[in-house]
Symmetry: C2
Subunit: 191 residues, 2 copies
C-alpha cells in the first residue's frame, strides 16, 4: 500500500539490529486518519469472507483492530498478555516466545468470546518471527473457530513469520512488506 510505504520511508526510524521505529504514527502516537485508511483496506481485502470477529493482541494492535472492526460491523476481542502461571479453566491460552525480550508469556482469550461458529480476522501491527500470530491462530483453533486470515500493517518479510503462517494455509495480507532495511539505505519494500 503506497500510502503506508511512503509514510514508513518518511517517518520510520531504522536502528541497528533490524529495529524499525514507527512510534510517531503507529504504536505510540497514532495517526488516526492514516490508520483509518489501513482499516478500510483490510475491509476491502476481507469483506467477502464472512468475518464475525476481529482478534488482536494488546497493546499496540488494539487501535487498528478497533477501527477495522468498525468497518466490518463486528465485535473486536483483544487477547491479553500475562506472566501468570496459574490460569483458570475458562480461557484459551497459548505460550508466546518473545525473541526481542528473551521471555515467554501467556496469551489469553476468555472462552466466552470465541466459539465454533466464529470466522476470525486476526489483525496486528507487526509480523516478524510470527510467534504472537501463531499463538492467536492456536487460540482460534482451540475454540473450534476458523481463521479467515491475518491483516498485518508491517511485515518484516526478511524474517520467517510470514512464511511459517502462510505454509499453514492461512491467508496473510500485509499492507507493507519490507524486503530489507538498513540504517544506511532505509527500507526496501517487496514488489
Amino acid at each position: 500500500m503506497k500510502l503506508l510505504e511512503d509514510r514508513i520511508r518518511k517517518d520510520g526510524i531504522i536502528g541497528e539490529g533490524n529495529v524499525l521505529k514507527v512510534d510517531s504514527f503507529l504504536n505510540h502516537q497514532m495517526d488516526i486518519a492514516l490508520i483509518d485508511e489501513l482499516a478500510a483496506e483490510f475491509h476491502r481485502l476481507f469483506k467477502d469472507c464472512g468475518v464475525t470477529k476481529i482478534l488482536t493482541i494488546e497493546a499496540s494492535g488494539i487501535g487498528i483492530a478497533c477501527l477495522t472492526a468498525k468497518y466490518f460491523g463486528v465485535p473486536m476481542v483483544f487477547a491479553k498478555k500475562s506472566k501468570t502461571k496459574n490460569i483458570a479453566g475458562d480461557i484459551y491460552t497459548a505460550k508466546v516466545e518473545s525473541f526481542t525480550h528473551g521471555t515467554v508469556y501467556d496469551v489469553m482469550v476468555s472462552k466466552k468470546f470465541l466459539n465454533s461458529s466464529d470466522k476470525v480476522l486476526i489483525i496486528d501491527d507487526f509480523l516478524a518471527n510470527g510467534q504472537a500470530l501463531l499463538g492467536l491462530t492456536k487460540i482460534v483453533k482451540d475454540a473450534g473457530a476458523a481463521t479467515v486470515g491475518c491483516g498485518i500493517v508491517i511485515e518484516k518479510a526478511f524474517q520467517d513469520g510470514g512464511k511459517i503462517i502462510r505454509e499453514q494455509g492461512i491467508r496473510v495480507e500485509s499492507l507493507a512488506r519490507i524486503k530489507e532495511m538498513s540504517v544506511q539505505n532505509g527500507a526496501v519494500f517487496c514488489d
Copy 2:
C-alpha cells in the same frame, strides 16, 4: 448516558470487593458499535474545547481513545506502562500506584508527541482512585500543555478519584457514574 447504564445493568458482572467486570463489551471483547456511540458523546461534550490531541494509557483505553480521536480528527497518543527503572531523558514520566495489584509502575510518553501548544483530552475506560489519571495529567503539565478535560466511560463515584481530579479544577465527564454497587443489588447510578 442511558445506553451505557443499561448495558452495565444487563452485562456487567459485579464481584466481591467492588469489582465490576465489563469484559463482554468494554475491556476484553469490545462492542464497537456501543463504543463508537460513547466516542461520539465525548466529541459532543468536548467539541468546542480546541482539542489537538487525545491521550490515554495502554491497554484498555486505546480502543475508546482511537474511536474518539477519529471524531475529533486529531492524533491519539497512548502512554506506555513499564516497570523499567532506567528511563531515557526524552520522555515524560509519572509514577502510578496500583492499589489493585499493590505495585508501582511508570507511565511514559515520548517528549516528541506532546508540546506546549497541545490541548489534551484524556480518555480512559475507568476512574476509581484516579492514580492513573493523575499520572497522565502530570505528564501533560510537564509538557507545558493543557488538559482540557477527562472523558471517562465508567466512574466508580464511591471512590476518591473523581473528587481528587475535579478539585484540581479539571473537567471530568463520566458517561456512567456508579454511586454504589453490590453483588446483591447490582449497580446504582448517580442522578
